[in-house]
Symmetry: C2
Subunit: 138 residues, 2 copies
Amino acid sequence: MSDDSVVAELTELVMRVARRLQFDFHAAAAELDLPPAQALALSELGESAPMRELAVRLGCDASNVTGIVDGLERRGLVTRRPDPSDRRVKHLVLTEEGERKRETLRSRSHAKAAELFELPHGDDVRLRDLLAQVKTCR
Amino acid sequence: MSDDSVVAELTELVMRVARRLQFDFHAAAAELDLPPAQALALSELGESAPMRELAVRLGCDASNVTGIVDGLERRGLVTRRPDPSDRRVKHLVLTEEGERKRETLRSRSHAKAAELFELPHGDDVRLRDLLAQVKTCR
DNA sequence: GCCGATGGTTGAGAACCTCAAATGTTGTGG
DNA sequence: CCACAACATTTGAGGTTCTCAACCATCGGC
């Protein structure tokens, strides 16, 4: 059983770090002229996937994904490919340009994150292992 | 200098925990029939403050705060009190009802967070101390 | 008293999300 | 085989939250 104030501080700290990570990610996305939602979707498309799967990865409604992918397709970053064995599903595949943008997005936001998580030797691993113990799904 | 993969994992983990905290907070807010933004503002009003100060605490534009406070005022949770020494500023003061709602909101979301951060003895404090070292503002 | 800075509000506009309903497709039990 | 439930995707309406630019009132220094 944790001390009350410790829980409050943990909440505060996690939210603060998350806001910062998100801010940096949005900044990196803006540099590439991508709205946040599209950038997030792009970064989830390392493995190509059907729309439904993307909705799951993003944790949002499927109807939402349509618009986001519309945007990515308009920019020529992704294509909808019909599934040969099931004509309902459309697979999302990154174009070369999409692959390229995904990579620079990844590396830029990663660079800022690395700066953020610059800790005394070994502490980064300790932090990771402790965070991994947090039961994010009961 | 951290290992690349460690940074990626840290980012992933922090975002995951933050999403969960936020989800629980929104759920607690919904139980009290409060939209998320109003709930967040309410929770920042432990100390009464002028509009401008609230905007800073929330990290958003001042014009945004107007609407949020309008909502809280409509529900009778907060009142705008003129500052006697500066007629431009309006201090936000919680009503009794506002105070009550703020407290139950705090305690409910806190309970869920405590469950989340249930770690082996001492690890919660270690986690807090490590997170506190993350340089969220360069 | 003038003037630049400040607190607050308003209105337009955008991004993002959800829900309900529609469409086309699949697969299964009868 | 066929009706029917389930599924993937899209569309459209509607809501929340946010920003930006413009505006008014007030303040403080010069």
